[in-house]
């Protein structure tokens, strides 16, 4: 068989081979174009589910703090919104069996605050928010860790966010004298703001004698004012906080 004859015989095989390679490549690209967005959506959904299930697991692990009927009943002052235009806080006196332990007592009053007043229009915190953890450092700084609903369900705005923080600070001030300052975490993390306005990077003054934020050489005493922000926690404080978790 001469060379031109061999070429003419192999030409169809060569064309078929080129066709199949091209088809395979086109198929791969089209398949990737379809598959990648689907994969991406599934991964995002899985990440969301994982995050939700983590929070759910944390909630299940956290034991609710029941009111112990044997604890002495005291007149607790809880601060909710007082007026229709949502601009002021007012104390509501509720008789509750409160623990003498400051951490348990703080959990009990904050959980009551979260449960809200009889008139739901006067609540300061979203009903689906959950107190995940609460502890008090030796210097009187209380750390309150809330579920993400505190940030996502609260009405966005300077007024509503400040009222939420003030209601917690004033309720703690009235019922738990051991708490001097309050640091708010969202799902275990420090958040820059509550819902876009109020600053959560520092600690809020709870007690008028809170004074200087400890272990912070540049922070000067602040005039006692509920809700005022002190300097951000220092790394020293953060180490203490983490060791107590």
């Amino acid at each position: 068989m001469t060379e031109p004859m061999m070429e003419s015989a192999l030409a169809p095989a060569k064309e078929r081979w080129k066709f199949w390679v091209t088809a395979l490549l086109v198929f791969a690209v089209v398949g990737a174009a379809i598959f990648v967005p689907i994969l991406r959506r599934r991964m995002q959904r899985a990440a969301r589910l994982q995050q939700q299930s983590e929070e759910q697991a944390r909630r299940e692990l956290i034991q609710q703090v029941p009111m112990n009927p044997s604890d002495p009943r005291v007149k607790a002052k809880l601060f909710w919104i007082s007026d229709a235009d949502n601009s002021m806080l007012a104390p509501v006196v509720v008789e509750l069996p409160l623990s003498s332990d400051p951490v348990l007592r703080s959990k009990q009053v904050i959980n009551t605050l979260l449960a809200g007043p009889v008139d739901v229009e006067l609540r300061t915190l979203p009903p689906d928010a959950v107190l995940l953890a609460f502890y008090i450092l030796p210097d009187g700084t209380a750390i309150a860790d809330f579920s993400e609903a505190l940030a996502t369900s609260i009405p966005s705005g300077i007024a509503s966010e400040q009222l939420a923080v003030d209601s917690m600070a004033r309720t703690l001030e009235a019922n738990v004298p051991q708490v001097k300052r309050l640091k708010i975490l969202i799902h275990g993390q420090e958040a820059e703001t509550l819902a876009g306005h109020v600053d959560l990077t520092g600690t809020f003054v709870v007690s008028a004698d809170a004074g200087q934020a400890p272990a912070n050489p540049v922070a000067a005493p602040v005039a006692g004012k509920v809700g005022a922000l002190l300097a951000p926690l220092t790394p020293v404080n953060r180490a203490v906080k983490l060791s107590q978790r």
Partner: protein, 279 residues
């Protein structure tokens, strides 16, 4: 020879093209696998730009010409307007589809016109539907001389038709050893001036919008804390109005009151001392 030169080059081209396509597809898959892990990072970290982080390390220089313990007349002539939120951050949302990020831009346009009529130069922290970080917005204000900063917000609560002015809560005093104000407490030396500006603007607003407070309120506002200028936040109530035109009708009155409040503040403006004393 099975393939001629031309076919060989075409085949090589096709092979390179195919391989490149596979690489692109592979990169796409890798990107899809990486994206969810990025979305799990805290939102706060995403809003901090490298420049802002650098600024956080360094601090804010005190205004030129200011010496510790010396107060000099300032000659206020710049107003930095901050239409809050923007981009993916819609801010407060009403049931009628009203979005705070849109309304603040509309209010900013009105306020800008009113201030320019009063002879002020106006700088905006955003021009369109973008969302600069808190630090980037503060950096725009902190780069100005003789300026005040006014953030515009629409609330999701409160008595509709009222307006509240906010000043930052007390901050620890600044101890400045080298003439720099710490970035994270840049507002501290200006709190006294901010209070004066806030009361003047609130007074003008209350004359027009009955039911508003008589004096400025205090709140721990993230945006104001890093702003080295007399700074206030103006919050209009609210996005829960049934009709958007209710808010639109408020805009000229709010703009006029802010412009008159800033004009009334101008003779009181002095460059504060670097030592943290609020004038």
């Amino acid at each position: 020879m099975l393939l001629d030169v031309g076919n060989s080059q075409r085949l090589r081209f096709l092979t390179v093209l195919g391989t490149s396509s596979l690489f692109v597809a592979g990169a796409g898959i890798a990107l899809a696998l990486q994206t969810p892990s990025q979305t799990q990072q805290p939102a706060a970290s995403s809003s901090t730009t490298p420049s802002a982080a650098a600024a956080g390390q360094s601090g804010v220089p005190t205004p030129p010409g200011s010496m510790p313990g010396v107060q000099t007349p300032g000659g206020l002539n710049v107003v930095v307007l901050d239409p809050a939120h923007g981009g993916t951050d819609l801010g407060a949302r009403g049931t009628g589809g009203i979005q705070e990020s849109e309304i603040t831009m509309e209010f900013a346009a009105e306020v800008r016109r009113a201030l320019e009529q009063q002879g002020f130069q106006v700088v905006q922290t955003r021009q369109g539907n973008d969302n600069p970080s808190f630090d980037d917005r503060s950096a725009i204000a902190n780069a100005q001389r003789n300026a005040v900063f006014i953030a515009l917000h629409i609330s999701s609560t409160g008595l509709p038709g009222t307006v509240r002015v906010y000043v930052n809560s007390d901050l620890p005093a600044v101890t400045s050893a080298n003439g720099f104000i710490p970035w994270d407490r840049a507002q501290a030396p200006y709190l006294g001036l901010s209070r004066k500006l806030g009361d003047l603007v609130q007074g003008m607003l209350t004359q027009r919008f009955k039911g508003s407070p008589d004096t400025a309120q205090t709140a721990t506002i993230r945006q104001l804390r890093t702003t080295a200028a007399p700074a206030i936040a103006v919050e209009v109530s609210s996005v829960v109005v049934n009709d958007r035109t209710d808010l639109d009708h408020m805009a000229p009155g709010v703009a006029d009151a802010i412009a008159r409040g800033v004009a009334a503040f101008k003779p009181l403006y002095v460059i504060p001392t670097a030592g943290g004393a609020s004038p």
